[in-house]
């Protein structure tokens, strides 16, 4: 089995790495190399946290040196000047930096990428300014001594082990985040914010939590850094260092932990052993960054993966998607949200009444009403520009309606965000499939269950047993759904390797992983062959068998009239007819504006 031997080889590597790390003081030779190894461990504490921000969530923070220096100064002041216990001081330094991360993140995380990057650079400059100005506290330009840790961590060897222990703990925390639902949610924010919204990821909160976490690790790293350097001045925390952290992650590759780790080791060690590189300093980092961005934007992490896949090619067989209507129905009913018997079909329906939306002077949707019933397939047809997709965006919350009302179970959805509507039970797909290209098919479906994950950031990071239990359930559900839509054969393949039809079916499976009451499909048959459209019909019937309401926006009218129970026809934003497929098909107005004679 490829899977187990892969697992074996990975644990073998891990064991070798652990042995090398633990025995390092024995074979390192001189004190300087030991110092360098401890420095790598200290940097890694910060970079591991920053990796979740930069590598996973895609936020370009270039100002973490500011947080490192706050941590270092807080530790030196608390443990040195005030004589506090060094371990307590280290924890407090971490907490202070977490608060600073919060203060920096709150105003700046909503800003677009470049604005955020500038805000983080500005933050590091401000920190330097304040440290220089607060002479009484920080010693100004003269600096402060960095306190030592007590026995047994006071010697160089002892300190090395302390740094390694902290680094190992931080790595474990970030690894837990990366491989669970949180990691997938963060990658969704990075690669496709629209998808992240659709599956219900609260983007701002998630970014803020991760950023605060990276602040805490930067603070702890700062404390260790101050102790290792034995003396700190504002000149210790040059902008160059921020560049270094950032470049380690970019070179290592986004969405990987081992890649940035290798980046950290190599980039710390290389300038120290090659004197000419040390002189070039920042120029070297800049050059590396430029080369990586131009030549391998995916970083070393991805390159290793690609080489690995080259030597162990997985058999890629072409196959036909064979959805199974009854399996899909079973998968869906198994996880269906329960509803009390007191609820009538009326109250479980989605009511949109007199909804309107204008863009400038154009009325894209004008006084449209429709009712989606559980288990019913509702078709929405009309010529291009008639407002079908706009209507779908209004129902799913990507647009806010100007007038009208949208109700589900007596709840008014009109003011709700996309995420809140997802929580109410509205899933959707997009005209052009929006998948997460770096994740596997299975992971793409699992991210659809985000809203049902109960484990928070801390629980996940600590690796509580409940997280694994939950994760297993999501995995099983995703596999069942993939069997239902007929994609189980490719579930371990990366999503960007799928063909168009497979992507469409995968997106539907992701929508269903939300366990929705209604699913809105935006032109799902676009670009499919006749056979694939037949398969799509199977999937849609399976969904409706399970009691989920379907809104189908589609141009293939034959298909619509065949699978739908009810059809609404729009033209230039107005409803021109709605009723049974037969009724709409023979309506003279619908024939005139859309179907043709």
């Amino acid at each position: 089995m490829t899977n187990t031997s892969l697992l074996k080889s990975r644990s073998v590597w891990l064991l070798i790495g652990a042995i090398l790390t633990v025995t390092l003081p024995l074979w390192a030779g001189d004190q300087y190399r030991l110092h360098l190894a401890a420095l790598i461990a200290v940097y890694w504490v910060l970079i591991a946290g920053l990796n979740l921000v930069v590598g996973y969530t895609g936020m370009l923070s270039i100002g973490h040196v500011g947080l490192l220096s706050i941590g270092a100064y807080a530790f030196s002041i608390l443990a040195g000047k005030l004589g506090m216990d060094p371990y307590a001081a280290m924890v407090i330094a971490g907490l202070i930096c977490g608060l600073c991360g919060l203060a920096l993140g709150l105003p700046s995380l909503r800003l677009p990428g470049f604005y955020f990057a500038m805000a983080t650079i500005a933050f590091s400059m401000i920190v330097n300014e304040i440290i220089l100005a607060q002479v009484d506290l920080t010693g100004g330009g003269i600096g402060l001594p960095g306190p030592m840790f007590p026995v047994p961590f006071e010697s160089p060897t002892g300190f090395y082990y302390l740094a390694v222990i902290v680094a190992a703990v931080v790595t474990y925390l970030t690894w837990n985040i990366a491989r669970r639902m949180w990691g997938r949610g963060l990658i969704a924010i990075r690669d496709n914010p629209v998808t992240a919204q659709a599956v219900g990821v609260p983007m701002f909160q998630a970014k803020l939590i991760v950023f605060v976490f990276s602040g805490i690790t930067a603070g702890v790293a700062g404390a260790l850094f101050a102790s290792l350097q034995t003396y700190i001045t504002p000149d210790t925390f040059v902008f160059e260092l921020s560049m270094f952290f950032f470049v380690c992650i970019i070179i290592g590759g986004r969405g990987s932990i081992i890649g940035p780790f290798i980046g950290t080791v190599v980039l710390t060690w290389l300038p120290e052993s090659v004197a000419s590189l040390a002189k070039l300093g920042n120029f070297f980092y800049g050059l590396l960054l430029l080369i990586v961005v131009l030549a391998v934007p995916e970083g070393i992490g991805r390159m290793i993966k690609m080489i690995y896949e080259r030597f162990r090619p997985r058999k890629v067989e072409s196959f036909a998607i064979r959805p199974d209507r009854s399996k899909l129905k079973d998968a869906l009913t198994q996880f269906r949200p329960s509803h009390s018997s007191a609820e009538t079909e009326q109250s479980r329906s989605l009511h949109a009444a007199s909804v309107s939306k204008s863009f400038g002077g154009i009325k894209a949707v004008d006084d449209v009403s429709l009712v989606l019933k559980p288990g019913q397939v509702h078709g929405l047809i009309g010529p291009n520009g008639s407002g079908k997709t706009t209507m779908l965006n209004l129902l799913s919350g990507y647009y806010q309606a100007d007038a009208g009302s949208i109700n589900l179970q007596g709840q008014d959805l009109l003011a709700q965000t996309v995420q809140e509507r997802a929580k109410t039970g509205i899933a959707r797909t997009f005209q052009k499939p929006r998948l997460l290209p770096d994740l596997t098919v299975l992971e793409n479906v699992m991210v659809g269950s985000w809203l049902h994950a109960k484990s928070g950031f801390v629980t996940t990071a600590l690796g509580m047993p409940s997280v694994a239990v939950e994760e297993k359930a999501f995995r099983e559900q995703a596999i069942e759904l993939l069997k239902g839509v007929g994609l189980e054969a490719v579930m371990h393949r990366r999503a960007n390797l799928l063909d168009h039809a497979q992507q469409r079916f995968l997106e539907i499976a992701r929508g269903l992983a939300l366990r929705p009451r209604f699913i809105l499909l935006d032109e799902p048959a676009g670009g499919l062959t006749a056979v694939e459209i037949e398969n799509l019909g199977e999937v849609i019937r399976g969904i409706s068998d399970a009691g989920i309401g379907v809104l189908l926006v589609e141009h293939h009218t034959d298909f619509v009239f065949r699978v739908c129970d009810y059809v609404t026809a729009l033209n230039v934003g107005r409803m021109i007819q709605s009723g049974s497929p037969e009724q709409v098909r023979h309506d003279p107005e619908v024939i005139r504006v859309y179907l043709g004679a």
Binding site: L111, F114, A122, I130, N282, Y398
Partner: protein
């Protein structure tokens, strides 16, 4: 007090000029380049090099500084923009221009030295001229001329109109037969020349200093974001406001918290009016 205001205004107008340079590049490529401030740094350093070190006439020095700026603008496009824009990934241009900026700063530091060096007097003038000193009115005059010049360029010339067309809708411009790649390269060369000019004009105020680029990139961006991205009048207002505020703040509270106050201004404006004072609201791209 008057000297404080004039110093603030002159510094502010340098920021405004950098903000204008941002706008020229942004109009054709939708890129905010981290190298923007470094272009002006090059203008100052090479101006001092040509005039003081090589002993050339200041007019030749000026032309040289502008040419160096233009060449760097062109290089930015070739190395950091062209290939990256083809991939259309949002974060990549930020990384590639950051890499360029870091490299040029370090290279100048190694070659020119890390100490600020004085910039020569351009026009014979007594040092006791006070607020009428050329080190104040040169950057102010150049920034105003740049803003007026760009306005005339955009309104009156064919190329200016092509810039506007690209900034409005690059795809539509391309469909109309505009060679968008050529126009973008031109805009980078133009922005390089303007940045070099601004750095040269402000040389006596800032000195020829390798680390200036970083400071100008940040403060020019603050001027731009406060005034509103894409608006040249906004850039002038934002720059002047930022310069005056920093000068007054250091006059009253001492110079230690200059950057903190500048960033405070930016955050305040972004919280109250995210699109800046004169910027246009963007439609949400879903």
């Amino acid at each position: 007090m008057l000297t404080v205001l004039v110093t603030g205004l002159a510094t502010g107008m340098l920021y405004a000029a950098v903000a204008l340079v941002y706008n020229v590049m942004f109009s054709t490529s939708k890129v905010l380049s981290v190298t923007t401030g470094h272009i002006s740094m090059l203008g100052g350093v090479f101006g001092a090099y040509f005039i003081s070190t090589l002993g050339l006439n200041w007019v030749i020095g000026l032309v040289g500084a502008v040419l160096v700026g233009a060449a760097f603008g062109w290089l930015t496009d070739v190395l950091a923009i062209r290939r990256v824009l083809a991939r259309s990934d949002e974060h990549l241009w930020l990384l590639s221009t950051l890499a360029m900026a870091t490299m040029v700063q370090q290279a100048v530091g190694l070659w020119w030295g890390t100490e600020p060096k004085p910039f020569p007097r351009l026009i014979p003038q007594e040092f006791g001229a006070g607020i009428w000193d050329q080190k104040f009115w040169l950057p102010i005059g150049v920034a105003v001329l740049m803003a007026i010049g760009l306005d005339v360029f955009y309104r009156r010339t064919m190329y200016g109109k092509l810039f506007l067309a690209m900034s409005e809708d690059a795809f539509a411009a391309r469909a109309r037969g505009v060679s968008t790649d050529k126009i973008r390269v031109m805009s980078y060369i133009l922005s390089g020349a303007l940045g070099g000019l601004a750095g040269f004009a402000a040389g006596q105020l800032t000195f020829a200093y390798f680390a200036l680029g970083h400071i100008l990139t940040l403060n020019g961006f603050i001027a731009l974001a406060v005034g509103g991205l894409g608006s040249n009048v906004g850039a002038i207002i934002g720059g002047a406001g930022l310069g005056l505020l920093s000068a007054l703040a250091s006059y009253w509270f001492g110079g230690e918290y200059q950057q903190t106050i500048a960033v405070g201004l930016l955050m305040l404006v972004l919280l109250l009016k995210p699109e800046g004072l004169l910027g246009s609201k963007k439609v949400r791209p879903v």
